[in-house]
Structures are given as structure tokens and as C-alpha cells.
């Protein structure tokens, strides 16, 4: 659990982050979203003290982050940034091994951890362990960046626009992978982005920032249905907010009892995708299938439409 209490950063007379407070639950993903200059990156960098706050404090599992030297704190917190920030003169394996080396892990443990991470991130160790970062594609570099951040099994992972430099298709894949990693390791993640779709897709809770102030911090559905501020409503998008809301619910969650002779959809599909499928096929309802392929219920158009209203 990360508790952020009255966190403030001033540069001279300019207040970049203004008394921001919120809590991030253990094992959840919090996304900080805002336009450029909103102070979102500064807020993130105050959590691992790359930026020292002017006022306020951060508690990590109840302990003030200032109770130990900054570099020791950072070794316990994963950190991944836009454009990956890999060390260009070190091989992929050396990059990934950075924090375990700093922590003085035995060489054997480092090697097996690097091997394990490269496999998790779909980078064949035989091919890529000894490659230099510039020999990798953008998507691969980004994966190595996240692998490096996770190398020492940190409980918390901070990410500053980690997918900002990727093209849309690779970005969607990277987001998918990140959710998989989060489910697998239960890492608490804090991610900064300017992309509201990314925030909704990844975040259990989303913090919307403007001009250094936290406007709203809540579940994505609440941001859509009950925006606290016109700016939040604008950020979430006024024209397609119903579709965004549908995208947050899965077919499995909304399924009603009964059968249907309409098209089959997976229970993990979002209502948005189901609605699209129904519009396309002209059917009045869809059959929801579980992961094992057995019918789980049906979804009539009317039930989907009802879910799209606040």
C-alpha cells in the first residue's frame, strides 16, 4: 500500500504538484493521467524520491520513504520510463541484472533470474541475452526496460509513459502483457500516461491531474458516470463516454440466464465488442461462452444498452 499525503513540489514560486493525497491499494494498478505540465511525472518521481517533495510525505507499507537513503529505497521500487532508458553500452542481460547486482545477489541467482525474466518477456535468452539494446526493436527494448525494473522482484513498479514510444499495435500488446505480469506477480503498479484510453484499460483506479492538482481519483466507471469536474468529463471524452463505459464491463459480468441463437462471444469480451458484433450481425442477442466453451448465458441488446447509461 502506498499512501501519498499532502505531497507538494515547488520550484521557486511555481507549484508543480499541489498538496496531492491518495492511497494506492496493494496489488492494484493506479494510473495518473493528465495533460503535459499537469505535474503527473513529478508526482510519480516523488514516490521514489527522484524528486524530493517540498512538503508532504509518502508512506510505503506504513513506513516513511525518507527513513532510508534514496538509492536504497529505489532498489526496492521498480522504475521504467518512456524510451526504456536502457544502458546502451551494456548487453540486455547486463541491463536486466542491474538491480540484482546493486543488491549483491549471488551470480548464480542473478543468472537464473535474468533467464527467467527474458523468457517471461518473450525474448529468447540465447538470441538476446548478449545483444546490445540498439540491436533490438522498439517493442523489445521496452520489454527489456520493464524486465530490468522487475528484476529484483520489487513490490512496487513505477512507470512513466512506458508505452509512449510504441506504435498502436505493439502498444496494445505491451499493455496486455503488463496486465498479465501484474496478475502473475501481484505487483503494485503506478503508471503515468496522457492517454485516457490507456488509463481506462490498465487502471483499477485512475487519478486525473491538472495544473498540479488532483481532480479525481476513482475507478474508471465512476470517472465516466460521476466526473467531479468538467475537466475530468472532457478528459474522459464526452462524445463516446457510453462506449467507454461499455468497454469497462465484460460479457461474463453482464450475462443474463438463458440461451440465444445469435453469435457466440467469449465471456472475457467487453460489452463494447459484443455490441459491435450484434450491430454487425443484426442479431438481437448473443450467446456468452465460458473459457471452457460451455454456454454461460445470453446477452440481449437491451441489456447492453442499459449498461451504457450512468
Amino acid at each position: 500500500m502506498i499512501q501519498i499525503e499532502g505531497l507538494t513540489k515547488q520550484y521557486g514560486a511555481t507549484t508543480v504538484v499541489d498538496a496531492v493525497s491518495f492511497n494506492i491499494e496493494r496489488n492494484s494498478i493506479a494510473v495518473i493521467v493528465g495533460t503535459s505540465g499537469s505535474g503527473k511525472s513529478t508526482l510519480l518521481r516523488m514516490i521514489n524520491r527522484l524528486v524530493e517533495p517540498t512538503a508532504g510525505r509518502v508512506l510505503l507499507d506504513g513506513a516513511d520513504t525518507r527513513s532510508e537513503p534514496a538509492h536504497l529505497l529505489r532498489r526496492r521500487i521498480g522504475y521504467a520510463i518512456q524510451g526504456h532508458g536502457l544502458f546502451p553500452h551494456r548487453t540486455v542481460a547486463e541491463n536486466v541484472a542491474t538491480v540484482p547486482r546493486l543488491l549483491g545477489w549471488p551470480e548464480e541467482r542473478i543468472r537464473s533470474r535474468v533467464q527467467e525474466l527474458l523468457e517471461i518477456f518473450q525474448l529468447d535468452p540465447g538470441l538476446y541475452a548478449d545483444a546490445l539494446p540498439h540491436q533490438l526493436s522498439g517493442g523489445q527494448q521496452q520489454r527489456v526496460g520493464v524486465a530490468r525494473a522487475l528484476a529484483a522482484e520489487p513490490g512496487v513498479l513505477l512507470m512513466d509513459e512506458p508505452f509512449g514510444a510504441l506504435d498502436p499495435i505493439i502498444r496494445a500488446k505491451a499493455q496486455e502483457d503488463l496486465l498479465g505480469i501484474q496478475r502473475r506477480f501481484g505487483t503494485t503498479m503506478v503508471l503515468v500516461t496522457h492517454d485516457m484510453d490507456e488509463a481506462f484499460r490498465l487502471g483499477h483506479r485512475v487519478a486525473v491531474m491538472r495544473q498540479g492538482q488532483l481532480l479525481q481519483y476513482d475507478r474508471p466507471a465512476v470517472l465516466l458516470t460521476h466526473p467531479s469536474d468538467p475537466f475530468v468529463a472532457r478528459m474522459t471524452g464526452l462524445t463516446d463516454r457510453a462506449m467507454k463505459l461499455l468497454a469497462l464491463t465484460t460479457a461474463g459480468e453482464a450475462a443474463l440466464p438463458g440461451g440465444s441463437d445469435g453469435p457466440c462471444v467469449a465471456s472475457s469480451a467487453s460489452l463494447r465488442d459484443v455490441l459491435s458484433e450484434l450491430l454487425w450481425s443484426g442479431a438481437a442477442s448473443a450467446l456468452v461462452l465460458g473459457e471452457d466453451g460451455s454456454p454461460r448465458g445470453q446477452l440481449p441488446v437491451a441489456a447492453i444498452l442499459a449498461r451504457g447509461r450512468p
Binding site: S36, G85, F87, R148
Partner: protein, 376 residues
């Protein structure tokens, strides 16, 4: 073609090897007919290769072979013109020889550039060339040439002055690196210092060498007079002390500036990530910033070393010693051969230093430092 060659040949021959500065001699006057013809044939062949052959390797071999033949011919001419036992006669390569040497040198460098040899190959070529020249000198092939006559006259002093030259250039460089590197790092970490410091060093750089020697004489002389310990260390108004101090001051700017530029060139994302994963400032400097800045820093050191090797020559004027001693003695006595005895080794030293450090930069710069990245 043959007729053209016959018409053309004597013309070239007449200019080739105008030996003895006072009394120019043509090629055929000093060499036996067959040797002269042989040399002409080799030169013509090389010219044909230069015009007609595109393959760089063949061009290089032709150029090098021609250089060797030319050098041997000059040596042979010197031997032929020097009466046995006569040590007064001076035989020097004439204008045509020098001209030919320059042309062949250009041909060879061009060929080497086109071949794009790796850094190690270049160093190897340099070592081979130096070894060949050294062997020829040791065997005594050129003993009758005027420069070698001058060497024979100064044989006891030459190694001392050569060593002193290297020591003055290298020592001031070492001192400048020891001071300049930390200064550059300081400038990088505290950008406010950068303007004033680089400005000061820039002003020093604009002072002519001889003026700086003069400026330093007074304070160093005073220091030696007041502090006996300083005098005991050899610090005086003239001699090596002001030379080393001046060279040190000149060396600072390139080293500090290149350190700053090199460090600035390091990807910000990499440095941010290095701090972000928990490296201490010292670990970031040693593990990330310095290794990535090293090629640029070494480039600065190369500039300084080559510059110092040249500038030490002037130090001879204030009693600093070094190969410049021969140069200025030679100028004083209007003995051009003595000037060459100092100048040629200086050029060879500077060239060798340049080739070797260039190769080092290339070896270090194998991993590109990545495109500059931005963080929001």
C-alpha cells in the same frame, strides 16, 4: 605511346633528385644509367597504377613499393656522390624527391582510406612502417644522407632530447587530464560554473605560446627565488617549468570542453533510469556517464597530445629542451638539415599519437550511445 614516353621521360628525369641544395643534380648525373632507368620505370608503373587501377589494395602496394624504391635510390645517390671517408659533403634529397614522396604519400593514404581498415589494422600498419624505417636507419642505409650526417653529429644528444620531448608533451597532458577531467565533471554537474570556467580557458587558449612562456617566466622566477623548495624541484623562470605549465594550461580547454560535451551527449533517459533503479551518483558517473562519454574525452586527449607534441618545439626557445632544440639551432645556423633532424621526428611522433588514439576512440565507440530520448 613509346614515343610519348621517350619525349616525356627525360623531362621527369631532369627534375627527379635534384640533389645537394647548392648544386642541383639530375637523376642520371648521380645514378648509373640502369639504376636511373629502373627508378623511372617503377615511377612510371606507379603512375599507371594510380591512373588505371581502381583496386585500393593494389594502389597501396604500388605506392609503398615506389616509396621504398625512391628512398633506396636517394640513399644510393648519396652513397655515390659521397667520396669515401669524406664527412664534410652533404647530400640531401632534392625538390623532386620531396615532391615525389608527397605524391606517393597521398596515393598511399588515399588507398588506406578507401580500404577502411579496422583500428587494429591501422595501428599495425603504423607499427610496420615505423619498424621498416627504423630497420633501414639501424642498418645504415641512409647514413650518407645529410640528415643522418647531422644525426651522427648529435648522436649523444638526440635520444635525450627525443625523450625530453615526449616527457614534456606527455607529462603536461597527464597533468591536464588529472585536473581537467574532474573540472569537466564538475562543470557538468554544476552548469553554472561552465560559462566562467570555459571562458577563462578559452582566453588562455588565445594567448600565443611564446607570449605565455614570457608571462609565466616572471611568476615562476619569483617563486623559485622566494621558495627554495620550488627551486630545488627545478622550477625556474626558464627551462622546463614554464613550458610544462604553459602546455598544461593550453591542454585544459580541450579536455574540460570534451568532458563536458561527452557527458552531455549521454542519453538522459539512461541517466534517469540509472538513478531510478538505485545507483548512487558515483555509480552513475563511473558505470554509465564516463563509459559513454569516453570516446569524446579520448578525442580531446588526442587533440591535446598532437597539439602538445607540436608546441613543445617552441619550448626549446626558453631552454625547455626537446627536439625543438635542433630546429632552432638549425635555423640559427641556417642548417636546414639540422632543422629536419628535429622536425621529422616531431611529425612522426604527432602522426603516430594521432593514429593510435584515433584507433582507441574507434574501439571504444563500438556501441552507439542511442538516439537522444525525451521524458515527459
Amino acid at each position: 605511346m613509346g614515343l610519348l614516353a621517350v619525349i616525356w621521360l627525360p623531362f621527369v628525369v631532369f627534375k627527379t633528385n635534384r640533389i645537394m641544395p647548392g648544386e642541383p643534380r639530375g637523376l642520371q648525373q648521380v645514378l648509373s644509367e640502369w639504376t636511373a632507368l629502373g627508378l623511372q620505370a617503377v615511377l612510371l608503373l606507379t603512375a599507371a597504377v594510380a591512373v588505371g587501377v581502381a583496386d585500393a589494395k593494389r594502389r597501396l602496394i604500388a605506392a609503398l613499393a615506389a616509396v621504398i624504391v625512391l628512398a633506396l635510390a636517394v640513399a644510393a645517390a648519396a652513397n655515390a656522390l659521397t667520396p669515401a671517408g669524406n664527412k664534410v659533403v652533404r647530400v640531401a634529397p632534392g625538390a623532386a624527391s620531396w615532391l615525389l614522396l608527397i605524391c606517393l604519400g597521398l596515393l598511399a593514404t588515399d588507398a588506406i582510406t578507401r580500404m577502411r581498415p579496422g583500428p587494429l589494422v591501422r595501428v599495425l600498419l603504423l607499427v610496420l612502417a615505423l619498424a621498416a624505417a627504423g630497420a633501414a636507419l639501424a642498418v645504415g642505409t641512409f647514413d650518407h644522407l645529410s640528415v643522418m650526417r647531422e644525426y651522427a653529429g648529435n648522436a649523444s644528444r638526440f635520444p635525450l632530447e627525443l625523450w625530453r620531448h615526449i616527457w614534456l608533451a606527455g607529462g603536461s597532458l597527464l597533468a591536464a587530464v588529472l585536473v581537467g577531467l574532474p573540472l569537466g565533471i564538475l562543470c557538468h554537474r554544476a552548469p553554472r560554473l561552465q560559462g566562467p570556467l570555459l571562458g577563462t580557458l578559452n582566453i588562455i587558449q588565445t594567448i600565443p605560446a611564446i607570449a605565455l612562456f614570457g608571462i609565466l617566466m616572471a611568476p615562476l622566477g619569483a617563486l623559485a627565488a622566494r621558495v627554495p623548495a620550488a627551486a630545488a624541484l627545478g622550477i625556474r623562470g626558464i627551462g622546463a617549468a614554464p613550458a610544462v605549465v604553459a602546455l598544461f594550461l593550453y591542454s585544459l580547454l580541450p579536455i574540460v570542453a570534451n568532458t563536458v560535451v561527452g557527458l552531455r551527449r549521454v542519453s538522459h533517459a539512461a541517466v534517469d533510469a540509472a538513478f531510478g533503479v538505485g545507483m548512487t551518483p558515483w555509480q552513475v558517473l563511473r558505470g554509465i556517464e564516463l563509459p559513454l562519454a569516453l570516446p569524446v574525452i579520448i578525442t580531446g586527449i588526442r587533440v591535446v597530445l598532437v597539439q602538445n607534441i607540436g608546441m613543445v618545439t617552441v619550448a626549446a626557445l626558453i631552454g625547455g629542451g626537446g627536439l625543438g632544440t635542433f630546429v632552432f639551432q638549425g635555423i640559427g645556423q641556417t642548417a636546414i638539415d639540422l632543422v629536419l633532424l628535429g622536425a621529422i621526428p616531431i611529425v612522426v611522433l604527432a602522426f603516430s599519437a594521432s593514429v593510435m588514439l584515433d584507433a582507441l576512440v574507434e574501439v571504444l565507440d563500438r556501441s552507439p550511445s542511442g538516439a537522444p530520448e525525451s521524458t515527459s
